[in-house]
Each structure stands twice: as C-alpha cells, then as structure tokens.
C-alpha cells in the first residue's frame, strides 16, 4: 500500500513543475482524506463511488449546482483570506467567526435601519458599499482589540480571539432576540428585519442565486495578493510574521504592524458576514454562519496561506458543502460525512509529516511560518 503511495508521490513530484510542487502536500492531503472518507462511507453502509459521483454532481453537475457552489465558496474565500493574512503576519486569528457575526449584524442594521434614520431612501450605489464598509470596519475594530492586546501587553491572540468569539456570538444573540429582532408580530425567530432593496447585492444572472459578492471575493483575493507581495505594508506584515526581531532591527514598527494585520484580517472576516447579508439572506439570522470562521482556518492552511490557494480551497470546501445534499439523496449517507472529510483534510495539512511519510516526500527546507510559539 505504501509502495503504491510512494509511487504516486514520486510520479506527481516528477510530473509537476517546481512552482506547483509546494501544492503537493495539500493535494495529497485532499486525496488521502477522500480515500479515507470513502472507507468511512463504506463502513456506514454506503457506496463510496456513488457517493462521490453524487458529491460531484451536486457541486458542479449543472449551472445551478455551480451557482450554489459559488455561493457557498464566497464567505469561505473572505474568511479564508482573513485567516491567511493573519498567518502571514505571524498571527493566528481564531476569531474570524466572531468578527464575521458582528460584520453581519452591523451591515444588516445599516441595511434595514439607515433609510429610516435618514428619513429618505438611499441609492443602491451608496447604500450597498456603505453597508459592506460598515460591516467590514466592525470586524476590523473587533479584531484590532486582540491585536492591540498582543502588541502592547503580550496577551496571546489565540486565547483572546477565542474569548472575543464568545462575546461576539452572545452579544449577537442578545441583539437578534432583543433590540434588533424583526418586529413583525408573526416572527418568532431571532433575526433582523429584511434589509432595504437599495442595500441588496444583485444576482449575476437572472434565475440563479450566484451574486456579485462572488466576483467581489475574487477581486479581494487579488487585492490581498497585491497588498502582501507588492506593497511596503505587505513587506512589513510578512517581515513581522517571519522574524519580528529582524523587523524591529529593520526599523519596522512591529506593534503597529501587529494591530494593523489583525484589523485587516478582521476587515476581511467582517466582509464575509456582510456579503451573506447583502447578497444572499438579506437579513441576519442567528446561527446562519456557525462554523464559517472555523472552516476558514482549514481553508487558509489548505491554501498554504496564499490568496490563490485560499480561493481554490474555498471553492473545494464550498463544493463539498453544496454537493453533500445530492450525495445524501443518492446514497442516504448523512451530510455529516463531509465534515469528517474536511476534518481529515485539515488534519493531514496541519500534520503534514503524515502525508510526507506516506508518500515519501522529503520535507521542503522552506517552511511556512504559521505562528510563533505561545507567548512569543
């Protein structure tokens, strides 16, 4: 078995150009997770081949399936970029979930309440960007707090972003059950009123749900790439991430850069929530986003913290989530199997030594610096 796996690893390595070689581990991680997932499906009494056919059909089988996959992928791209950007700066933002929830709450508020406050209707060209901007900035502010604590007190961002998640999610729950709850007497759900027409991002095509937010996500991914590799700010973020001592030596304001990196990360996470409200749900509802911020960590890792990698990983995750329904329909395998496969992917990407051992890939000497040690 390992003989075969070794051959696969060898063959792939020789056939791929060197630039693609760094994608080897993620590719093999997905492959391995799919194989193991197939075994899980078989153990659960399903036909793995049929299940994967169903998964593929459900994700890419027709125009509608592709449209739905893109919808799933959109928040994944934003949130994945958020986590990846923080990683590049040497920070582990586990708080995307909370930043995303606050972004959604604030953009919903701007969406439904702003015309009332102003006393007149806004044109969409102003209302939509304003709602997205406010949601993004809320995420940025929320993430800047643990960034500030990290930079000026040494409080570890992993702990603080987790704690901030609890605050954000419970505060959201309070708002959606209380002050921001849809006042419609028929409403029993914790959700905001519907946002104004002028705050809604339009679908791309008549009859499909795929919306402008998907294109915005791709544009933002490109912008993140430009930021990180083409600007002095990106150079500073990457230097602080790779070696904060050398960054200080080089005259970079390390503390400011840490706060800024977290804020930018939170901005992207906040936008993930914002897009869901303005383009898809047209309101914020408690529990719609559970898990995006956590899946984003897996997506950022699978995408090797590179914007293009994040886009590909986000589409893969979106496809799996979207195709799962069709898979369940064909094989009666519960959609939860997808979570198992996603968890396996994350496991193999994070513990890449396993993949390197199975497929006999020598460890690359350049290592992605993810985070520095606790308290570092």
């Amino acid at each position: 078995m390992r003989q075969l796996a070794g051959k696969i690893g060898e063959g792939l390595k020789n056939s791929l150009p060197s630039a693609v070689n760094s994608l080897l581990v993620p590719l093999l991680a997905v492959l391995t997770a799919v194989v193991l997932g197939g075994i899980v499906i078989a153990l659960a009494g399903g036909n793995p081949f049929l299940a994967y056919v169903g998964l593929f059909q459900g994700a890419f089988g027709n125009a509608r399936a592709i449209s739905e996959t893109a919808i799933w992928a959109t928040p994944y791209i934003f949130a994945g970029l958020a986590v990846a950007l923080a990683f590049k700066g040497g920070l582990f933002n586990i708080g995307a979930e909370g930043q995303l929830a606050f972004g959604a709450v604030v953009s919903a508020l701007i969406g439904y309440a702003l015309p009332g406050w102003l006393g007149f209707d806004l044109p969409a060209i102003i209302h939509i960007p304003f709602a997205i901007l406010c949601g993004g900035l809320t995420g940025a502010l929320w993430a800047a707090i643990p960034g500030f604590l990290k930079a000026y007190t040494g409080g570890h961002e992993v702990i603080n972003t987790i704690m901030m998640n609890y605050i954000a999610l419970n505060l959201t729950s309070f708002l959606l059950n209380g002050p921001m709850k849809d006042p419609n007497p028929n409403n029993v759900i914790a959700r905001t009123p519907v946002i104004a027409e002028s705050a809604r991002l339009a679908p791309l095509f008549e009859g499909y749900r795929i919306h402008w937010g998907f294109l915005l996500a791709l544009l933002v991914a490109f912008l993140v790439w430009v930021l990180l590799w083409k600007t002095t700010l990106g150079f500073e973020i990457r230097t602080v991430g790779a070696n904060p001592d050398a960054a200080r030596y080089a005259g970079i304001n390390v503390k400011r850069t840490i706060v800024l990196t977290m804020a930018l990360s939170g901005l992207l996470a906040g936008m993930a929530g914002t897009i869901e409200v303005t383009a898809l749900n047209h309101r914020h509802e408690l529990g719609f986003s559970i898990g995006y911020g956590f899946d984003a960590i897996a997506i950022a890792l699978l995408g090797k913290t590179h914007p293009l990698g994040v886009v590909i990983a986000a589409i893969l995750f979106g496809a799996m989530r979207n195709g799962a329904t069709r898979m369940q329909f064909l094989t009666q395998i519960p959609v939860d199997v997808i979570s198992v496969i996603q968890a396996l992917i994350l496991l193999f990407v994070a513990a890449d030594a396993i993949i390197r051992y199975i497929y006999r890939i020598r460890a690359a000497s350049e290592r992605v610096v993810l985070t520095r040690g606790w308290g570092g």
Binding site: W229, K230, T231, T232, L233, G234, F235, R238, T239, A242, N243, D245, A246, A247, R248, Y249, A250, G251, N253, R362, S365, E366, R367, V369
Partner: protein, 508 residues
C-alpha cells in the same frame, strides 16, 4: 590496546548529506592520553565527524574502532557506555538546577528506586573535582556560575559518567584568555590521568599551544595530521583554507576626523531590570576604529542594542552626527547614517526565508528607488541585489534564493553589503566574524578597514581579542557594565587586555 595506544579510531568515514559530502573517506585516530586538535573551517566536516563518533549520526561507510575493536555507535547512550563524553559548544545545562542536580540528570542516583540521593552525587562531584583540579561547588545554582565554571560542570558531567575520551567542541569560544588558560591546565591534568581529548577549534594560536597532534580538515577531507613543532600559524591557515591567507590585517595609520558618536554616561537595563551598562561614556571619530574588548555578558550586547535603538536607555545621552538621538528607534538612526551589523545575524540581521534580494533592502525597502508611493519596485530591488552580490562577492546561485540556503559567511556578507550600501557615517559591528571561516573573516576585516579609510567611524565589539587587536585604533575594555579603560591599540599587549577583561583595575 594496539601498539600506538590508539583508543579511538575512525577509518574511511564517509557521510553524505543532500548535496554535500560532509565526510569523505576520513581517517582519524586518538592516542591514549593525548590532546588531538581537530582544526578546520565551518563546514569542513569536523562536527559531522564528531557527531558520528558520538552517535548522533551514522556513517554511510567506514568503521569506528574503540581500543582496536570495531564498535557500532547508534546513540549518545552507546557512546557514553563506550566512555566517550562530549562538551558541546552550547552547554546542555539547566540553569535553575544545582551543579549536583545537573550532573546527575539522566543518570540519577536514587534510594528505593525513586528518591534522589543528592548527597551521594555531591560527594562524587567533590571527589572528581579534587581529583582533576576542577574547582566546583556542587550546591551552587548553575545559572549563577560564570561561563568558565559552567564548562567545568559539563566536563565533570562526562567524568561522572566514566568518560575516558572527551570531545570538546570549540571550548574556548566563550572564555576569557585567563579562563582559557585555566581550561588548558585542566586539560593537561585530565590527560595526565589517562583521559584522551579531542579538541575542536578554529583558533590557530590555541592549537599550537596545547595540542599534541593537529589534524586539519577541509571540505570533508583530512588534509593532514601534524605536530605543533613542525608547523606554524601560517602553515595551518593555508592547510585550512587551501590557499595562502593574510592573517594580519593590513592597515595604515588612522586619520581621525570629527566626532560622529558621543556616548555620555549611558545607563541601560537588561530584561530583568538590572543595570548592565553603568554610566558608559566614549566617543568615536570619523575614520577610526574603536574596539570594545570584553568577555561576553559584560554589557556589550545591551550597550549596542541601546545605541541602535533596539533597547531603551535608562539615562544618559547619545549624540550621533551632532544630533541628540538618545532612545530613538532604529529607523531615524539608519536614516542619519548608522549601519549596524548585529551580533545575532539570524535573529536580527536576516529574515531567513526571504530572498537575498529582499534581505538586501530589509531596512531601506520603503524608500525610493525600492518603493514608490507604498508600492515595491522589484526592478530596483533586483538591480540593487545584483550589484551588491557582485561588489561584495556573495556566493549565491541567484539573488532570489532564500538567504537561509547560504553559508554563514555569505549570510554575513549579505548583511555587511546591505549595511554599507547606504550612506554610512558610523558602523556598529558586533561580533562581525563570529562563527565565520577564515576566508570570510579576512574579507570582512578588509571591508571594515576600507570603511575606516573612507572616513567612517567604526565601533567594533568583539569577544575575540585577536580581532579587536587587529582592527582597532583605540581599545576600550568593558567589564561589569563599565568601561575600565581606553587605550591606544598600538601601546597595549594582549596579556594586559586579558587582565583588564578579567576585572583587573588599570594602575593610573
């Protein structure tokens, strides 16, 4: 035992690492009771050979014999069992443990199988230190001992485990000249009692002073084995490098100009809040080299960090190029013309996974021509790297490879090239040649003298007395956070400096 009393022998040792033949058919033998020096530049294969003898690596080909019998060593446990002990360059001690606790670590004497018997250990430690003239208090906390004594603890650790063969890896790198003398006395004491010593070093003077035989390695091969009588520093250096080397730095008289740096009663605290630089005052003039001599840990690191903006000053002033820049962060200092070759090049000087080109603009990346309106200009950055690589003879396959792929000497050249490439008034060089090979040292020394001759003020901090003496025009000796004295480099002897470094007070 064989006729020559050879206790340890390596025959035909070959070890291949990816892309490097670290050991190529290496033969090496150690006689009973001798000090056998292993000399070579970094990357010559000394450490690989020792790691094979100590069981940390396994050879691809070749054999190791212990007292004439072939032996397979697969771990340090095997080597300890075989009576081989190693004192690493970086001590493997737990600072918060006592000497006795450190010594028994991993080989504890216990009662009832679980209760530590520290008294028995302490007794054995005292026995050993008396026997070999190693003066150590078993109850003292290791973290509070001077480096020289910590090294003794490491040596006792190996003797405690009944080592009869001792490998000392660059043991004098951290010692004062006096401490080194002490170590040499201990080494003789040990060999008289039948211990055989392999002494790894790159310092030629020491080798000639103490070794019975000297084996020189270069590029994974043994170049030859000689005795101190039949060789000289110059001959050894030629063997090490493979060509004639200029050991003395060729420099003319200095032409000191105006004052570029004035330090006035500077006080600096370390991370514990202790005052480690205590009212230090000195000045550096344009076109001169001021060397700061001193054993490591006497406040030099903190002094340089304070001068370069990496550490806050507690009180006092620093005037640089006529401006009071006390406590300013690194950027305004760089912009005023300060170049800094930091002590720890991999920690402060480089971002190892960045390219050579990016590292060459590490502190100038934000200004034209490297960036315009916040956008990096790759063409300018590449052109800069190509020029500097050529000018400073950096051996790299291309400016785009990660700087981590370069040898230590070439990494240091990247830093020196970067620091000297922007308008420099003052060069602060802290241990600029630590751990470098003879060829790179030669190059960096010439570069420092060239800067001086171009009218740059140089503040050189080094623990290597030879380096200080070779390059400095004036020498300040630092001890316990204070500058004990400042002297003309031409009018002072090595011995006198060594005494001051160890805490002797100047007479006047």
């Amino acid at each position: 035992m064989t006729e020559n009393n050879i206790v340890l022998e390596a025959r035909g040792i070959t070890k291949q690492f990816p892309g490097v033949l670290a050991n190529d058919q290496v033969d090496f033998d150690l006689r009973n009771g001798e000090i056998h020096a292993l000399l070579g530049e970094n990357g010559a294969g000394k450490t690989t050979l020792m790691n094979i003898l100590y069981g940390l690596y396994h050879q691809d080909a070749g054999e190791v014999f212990l007292n004439g019998q072939p032996i397979e060593i697969h771990s340090s446990r095997d080597s300890i069992k075989a009576g081989i002990g190693m004192v690493h360059q970086h001590f493997m001690l737990v600072p918060v443990f006592s000497v006795a606790e450190n010594i028994m670590l991993g080989d504890e004497i216990t009662r009832l199988g679980m209760i530590l018997d520290e008294k028995a250990v302490a007794k054995r430690v005292l026995e050993l230190s008396r026997q070999y003239g190693l003066d150590v208090d078993p109850q003292a906390l290791v973290g509070q001992l001077p480096v020289g004594v910590q090294q003794r603890v490491e040596i006792i650790k190996t003797l405690y485990r009944d080592a009869s063969i001792l490998i000392l890896d660059e043991p004098t790198a951290v010692l004062t000249p006096q401490e080194a003398e002490d170590l040499f006395r201990i080494m003789h004491e040990l060999t008289e009692r039948g211990v055989s010593i392999i002494f790894i070093t790159h310092k030629l003077k020491e080798v000639l002073a103490i070794a019975d035989r000297i084996t020189v390695m270069r590029a994974g091969k043994v170049i030859g084995t000689v005795t101190p009588k039949e060789t000289s520093e110059q001959k050894l250096a030629t063997m090490m490098v493979g060509r004639d080397v200029i050991l003395t730095v060729d420099k003319g008289l200095s032409q000191p100009g105006e004052e570029v740096l004035k330090v006035d009663r500077l006080k600096v605290h370390d991370f514990r809040g202790l005052e480690v630089v205590r009212e230090v005052s000195f000045e550096v003039r344009a076109g001169e080299v001021l060397g700061i001599a001193g054993v490591q840990g006497n406040g030099q690191t903190e002094l340089v960090e304070a001068l370069t903006g990496l550490r806050p000053t507690a009180s006092g002033r620093m005037l640089f190029a006529g401006k009071d820049l006390t406590g300013k962060p690194p950027r305004p200092l760089t912009e005023t013309g300060m170049a800094h070759v930091p002590e720890d090049r991999q920690r402060h000087g480089l971002v190892l996974n960045f390219s050579v080109a990016d590292n060459m603009v590490l502190n100038t990346y934000y200004r034209p021509p490297f960036a315009r309106f916040g956008v990096m200009q790759p063409e300018a950055i590449d052109a800069n790297a190509r020029n500097l690589v050529k000018e400073f003879d950096v051996r790299t396959p291309s400016p785009f490879v990660a700087v981590s792929k370069l040898s230590g000497g070439n990494q240091q050249k990247v830093i020196v090239a970067r620091e000297l490439s922007h308008g420099v008034k003052l060069l602060l060089a802290n241990q600029p040649t630590r751990g470098l090979d003879v060829g790179s040292i030669e190059y960096i020394h010439q570069e420092i003298v060239a800067m001086r001759d171009r009218g740059v003020g140089v503040l050189l901090v080094s623990a290597e007395l030879d380096e200080i003496m070779a390059l400095s025009d004036r020498i300040a000796v630092m001890y316990h956070g204070q500058i004990v004295t400042t002297v003309d480099a031409k009018k002072v002897t090595r011995e006198q400096l060594g005494l001051w470094m160890a805490g002797a007070r100047p007479e006047e």
